[in-house]
Amino acid sequence: MSKGEKTRQCIIEKAAPIFNVKGIAATSVEEVLHSAKVTRGCLYSHFETKEDLAASCVDYLLQVSSDTQKEVLGKQHAAKDKLFAYMDMAKNPLKSLFDGGCPIANLSTEADDTLPAVNKKVKKHIEAQIDLLTGLLEEGIRSGEFSADLIPEEYATKMFAAIEGANIICRVKNTVRPMQIIIKGFKRELECYCVNASTKDFNSTLNDKI
């Protein structure tokens, strides 16, 4: 990484949490300059406008979220464990990966009416999240872990929507309880679709005999 690239990256890393806490409209360039300890000339040599900087910060926030998620899910093998790990990552909305809470919720409510470029990025990220969850559920059905009664896209959409919604409710009320209750419900529901390993063995033995 060249020195210029390093400076650019440093500005993004300092600015991203500020944008996430305060929102894009409420963050001033002065705050970013102060936090990144760079001059205005330096900042504008890397980013044309505040919107340009905000867009790079959005990419960064979403990328770090995806990377962290990939790492956590990568440690699990079974589809059920991966899905449970996904839910556990969301379990404390008051203590999230970044200050300011879930960037998806923060960015989407601000961007939906006012920032089409950011909205596009968040939309793409959300779709990728639902695809990821749908994929895990499909994989679980194929491998015989879940029953075929499970409808992957439906479960994925409602799980994603409820987690985001609970996130917002918890943060505004300063409590983690709604999220915990919701996660418990989704885990219990998924468990109902789990094909019990011993039953499966029993059935296959039965089939062998027949």
Partner: protein, 196 residues
């Protein structure tokens, strides 16, 4: 209504959409001047500062949302329908039917959670109020025999509230009505599952 009350209401009504769409921080006093056509002095004569105005606008938008809920409740005869009112009103928010810019609770909650404690408190109390109303509807539904006994009221209430908030957020970002429809049928299925 005095002239000053009329001006105050005029400012609130004119700014309702902008505050809900751009947020508190994203709306400037210059925006207020342009939209209302009033001078800065005229505006400050009615509202001490932008925060006081934002709070009044939040109350106005919440009032619209609560009126929509109240109207729908009048024609909801079963407890099933009463619970579905919330989901239906959120669907109407997606359609920009009676309020432009989405849910004021959702918008204010995400903006104010870290930055403005007075607004945050307002959004929190609105959210708590809904939670209480929904729990009461479920309890009454159990007493009347419409819903099963022994169901987990907290679980159902939080699931429905989270689904409609998250579902609205998701469909507005995606600009996709089918997401909201999908969430609606999930909520409907949830309510069906507690029928006695």
């Amino acid at each position: 209504m005095t002239k000053s009350e009329r001006t105050k209401n005029f400012i609130i009504e004119s700014m309702a959409e902008i505050f809900n769409k751009r947020g508190y921080a994203g709306t400037t006093m210059a925006d207020v001047e342009i939209i209302t056509g009033l001078s800065r002095g005229g505006i400050y004569g009615n509202f001490e500062n932008k925060e006081v105005m934002a709070l009044a606008v939040f109350d106005y938008n919440m009032g619209k949302l609560c009126n929509a809920i109240r109207d729908a409740m009048l024609v909801a005869h079963s407890y099933h329908d009463k619970i579905m009112v919330y989901a239906k009103v959120y669907k109407a928010l997606y359609e920009d039917d009676f309020l432009l810019g989405g849910s004021p609770i959702l918008n204010t909650a995400t903006e104010a959670d870290d930055t403005n404690s007075v607004l945050k408190e307002k959004a929190a109390s609105a959210s708590k109020n809904w939670q209480r109303c929904m729990m009461e509807s479920i309890e009454s539904g159990i007493e009347s025999g419409e819903f099963k006994r022994g169901i987990n009221i907290d679980q159902i209430t939080f699931s429905i509230l989270a689904l409609i908030e998250g579902g609205l957020m998701l469909s507005r970002v995606a600009g996709d009505r089918s997401r909201m429809d999908q969430i609606m049928s999930t909520v409907e299925g949830m309510v069906n599952s507690i029928h006695a």
